[in-house]
């Protein structure tokens, strides 16, 4: 029996002490006709080396980013993960601890959460933050739940340039707690949402306005204006920010965002087929007691020694039950720790350099792709600054081209028509991180050129 140490002797002794003859006597409460009455339809257990062999067999049937050059993004990016990040999060003192309910035995986890909250506050430019949420999409949803509970209003205005996967999750959540969602489409020329169009739909019942900055096309919305207009209408301005951009782009707190959320995957987490990552949330002071999830605060013990505890728990489900600010309990603590270590490793100068590099790599990749015959610039044109990601138009079906280049070990991007009905099937969303060299870009261009030619035949 793997991992369970009881021997036959142990078992005999324990059953005798309990006062039963057989293990099954302990299951006597289960009505006989409800018992499964057969073995589970699963194979027998296997030894550890065989498990690894089975895992490797599955592994051989995937082409991961160590065996391909990736220009795929859409919320999951191929950034470099410093070795120190893995070294810290693989410490089993962190990995195998539970939620820090007992502060005397959990100061390590509690202090890292406090430092994580501080780092997120530093990026967002806002005074309070929580211990993390599931991912960037549910973080947006939780922000709108906060807005609904705070304002008592039931309408949601969402920019169409919010990533499609995030909009999909938001749609599911908002429908559940009875909010109506208005999506304001982008201008096909600029790839941006016109603030005047957003202002036109703001009303007395608007609870929140959701802006993604940079937007899903890598372009920069007029976020300060959108935030100011939302605020003026009495709605909570919610900014979903790429954390890696916040070394070079203005802190949303500085231009009045009420709640800043986002996904932490770029901060030292491997893509892992989409998860786990972490969602983060920072907010203005006035929303503190409406925040979802765990929050850690500094305090002292009975000797006056500084320490940390879970605090403001009267917001939470285990105290407030149906009046809680959210149902969340478990969050993504170990991923948040990775984010903290990553940000500490990078430091203020490092995050500026890395943020600038995302602009530089995206511009270089776009310029090269526009030289490929038949490829034209997407919304925003060939000159607008783009953060890591941008749209181009292929003369053929992008989904088919992507399938072809994948077989050549190049993940060329994401066929964007799947995310926006306003885009044609030639639209390709391409992401270039600091990991993409000039040689990689050349290879993308040549592979794409060949695939387009083959597809056009």
């Amino acid at each position: 029996m793997p991992y369970a140490p009881a021997t036959a002797d142990d078992l005999r002794h324990m059953l005798a002490t309990i006062g039963v003859d057989a293990v099954d006597d302990l299951f006597a409460d289960i009505p006989p006709d409800l018992r499964i009455g057969r073995e589970l339809d699963l194979p027998l257990g296997i030894p550890e080396p065989e498990l690894l062999a089975r895992a490797r067999a599955f592994a051989d049937e995937t082409i991961d980013l160590s065996r391909a050059i990736s220009f795929l993004g859409v919320g999951s990016y191929d950034h470099y993960v410093p070795a120190a990040v893995r070294a810290v999060v693989s410490r089993s003192e962190f990995a195998t601890a539970y939620t820090p309910y007992q502060p005397e035995l959990s100061q390590g986890t509690l202090q890292t959460i406090f430092e994580f909250q501080s780092s997120i506050a530093a990026l967002a430019g806002l005074p309070v933050s929580n211990a993390s949420l599931y991912d960037g999409a549910t973080a947006v949803a939780e922000a709108t739940y906060l807005a609904e509970q705070t304002t008592g209003r039931s309408e949601l205005v969402v920019l169409g340039t919010v990533a499609p996967q995030v909009r999909a999750v938001l749609h599911t959540y908002a429908g559940a707690y009875g909010m109506t969602m208005h999506v304001v489409d982008h201008d096909p020329e600029t790839g941006l949402v016109d603030p005047a169009k957003v202002a036109a739909v703001l009303g007395d019942d608007t609870a929140a306005v959701v802006v993604q900055q940079p937007n899903a096309f890598g372009l920069l919305e007029d976020a300060p204006r959108l935030v100011a207009d939302a605020d003026a209408a009495g709605a909570v301005p919610v900014v979903s920010a790429d954390p890696l951009s916040l070394g070079v782009l203005e802190a949303p707190g500085a231009y009045g965002a009420g709640v800043v959320v986002g996904d932490g995957q770029p901060l030292g987490l491997a893509p892992t087929a989409g998860g786990p990552t972490f969602g983060f949330m920072a907010a203005q002071q006035q929303f503190l007691r409406r925040m979802p999830g765990r929050i850690v605060g500094e305090t002292v013990d009975s000797d006056g020694t500084r320490g940390y505890v879970l605090t403001l728990q009267t917001r939470e489900q285990h105290i407030r039950r149906e009046k809680a600010t959210s149902n969340i309990c478990t969050n993504q603590a170990l991923c948040a720790l990775a984010g903290l270590v990553y940000l500490s490793w990078l430091g203020p100068q490092g995050i500026r350099e890395l943020g600038a590099t995302q602009f530089e790599r995206a511009a270089a990749t776009r310029a090269r792709l526009l030289d490929v015959p038949g490829v034209t610039a997407g919304p925003g044109g060939s000159g607008a600054p783009v953060f890591r990601e941008f749209l181009v138009e292929l003369p053929v079906d992008a989904a088919k081209v992507v399938e072809r280049t994948a077989q050549d070990g190049v993940l060329a991007g994401w066929p964007a028509a799947a995310g926006w009905s306003t885009l044609g099937n030639g639209a390709l969303l391409v992401a270039a991180t600091e990991q993409r060299s000039d040689d990689d870009i050349e290879r993308l261009a040549s592979t794409l050129e060949r695939a387009i030619a083959e597809e056009g035949r």
């Binding site: 699963l42 506050a121 599911t172 203020p348």
Partner: protein, 533 residues
Amino acid sequence: MTPPRPTNLPATAPDSETTTSSAATEHVVPAGIHPASEPTIFERSRPGRRSSRLVHDVDVDAALAGVPAALRRDDAPPLPEVAEPTLMRHFVRLSQRNHSIDSGFYPLGSCTMKYNPKVHDEIAAMPAFARLHPLAPPSVTQGLLGMLHELQHAIGELSGLPAVTLQPAAGAHGEFTGLLLMRAFHQERVARGEVESEPLAVLVPDTAHGTNPATVRMAGMRTVSIPTDARGGMDLDAVRAACAEHDVAGLMLTNPNTLGLLDERIREIAAAVHEVGGLLYYDGANLNAIMGKVRPGDMGFDIVHVNVHKTLSTPHGGGGPGAGPVAVAERLAHLLPLPRIVQHPDGHYDVVDHIDGSIGSVSRFFGNVGILVRAWAYVVTHGRDGLRRASELAVVNANYLMELIRDVLPPAFDRSCMHEFVVSAGDVKARTGIRALDIAKRIMDHGYHPPTMYFPILVDEALMIEPTETETRETLEAFAAAIRSVIAEAESDPQTVITAPHTTLVRRMDEARSARQPILVDPYVSERLPAAT
């Protein structure tokens, strides 16, 4: 006698880098900080320091040339400035200020703190899983899809409910997903004209975890609380009465329940709810008791979530990441969230982004794949024989431990338990004034993490204990001896118990102060925040 110092905590010898030294005044411990404290990473920050570089020198201004000035950040964010050696020492020291399953016994009721096999971490770290992009074409992700499909089948078989989504990121997220499925089911009934309006009442036992009612609210539904009967089960008459009185959409229940008891009248409860068109939701928090013995689907449940970080032994991570897959009856399959992993008749796997009736997406991609891979490994290593055995041994361990302490801490209900049990320190308190909280704090001085306290609420001075199957008999006996010594001490030397813990790095914390004057962000950051416009 002084109990042994917990071995998982480091000696309090201060780090030379942080002690007061006349030569290096910048390293003085900040005022008010006990030398045993680890400074924050921000307190370790010194201008100009950094770790290794991630990119070559870059001309930041040139790269940002086209960005409007109003959108640019002029000052770098106030992140810490530390070199990598300082960073590693800081985080390693913090790791040593934790109790963890790898360093000690963790009998937290309802949390299923079992051992996390190390080989799982190795598999999860394989590039094929860790470095896979979620939107890579299915033609290059067949291996992952195949593995996840196998896990879906295993969860379907374990739960007796064949249609499975792996998307929810945690148990509470699974609950939310499950209630949305419940709503979608009833909305279809309304559309078909079977009922006039959508029923929105959800029956929840008063012993339920707080997430249940919180989720009901978030899902736009309404909680009707059901009392517990003398046997510790759901009051059947109250269920029937509620079904007659309310627009019942369904019932949420964990069985065995939060008292560690199996509700043997589940059939009657299921019948009462099904009769009025409602669905039964199974909170899988306590699945560790029943694998291969009885299945929620066979008990009459329609929807179940599985906490893989409990039952299928994925690491808790200090509070996540977890995963909360949801399994449902075939008639609800079309409602499951998107994307879905399916297998075509020719054997290859695919990702489906649209199914009529689906509730939509509850997270961005497939869910917490890095966790699901570990759950797959757990199921495959154990197989049908090992999974059943794990549950049997979890139940034996719980009953054995209950037996060893029942004369000093009596069980709340006098019957055999499942994988966990609840004892009451009510008598101890009446006799000595020592509360469950004090017992929990004093047990730390013996090197153990305390049990869950004050849950479920209906048991006076509750302590909820779940040893799991991965603990040895010796550990259970030593823990029982520690409990007995604390109870004896409650009579002989109550002051020592009331002021415990004595040997941990910090003592009882002033929690009221943390809420009254919240310090939630390091002053290093607060002082450098931009003034909002």
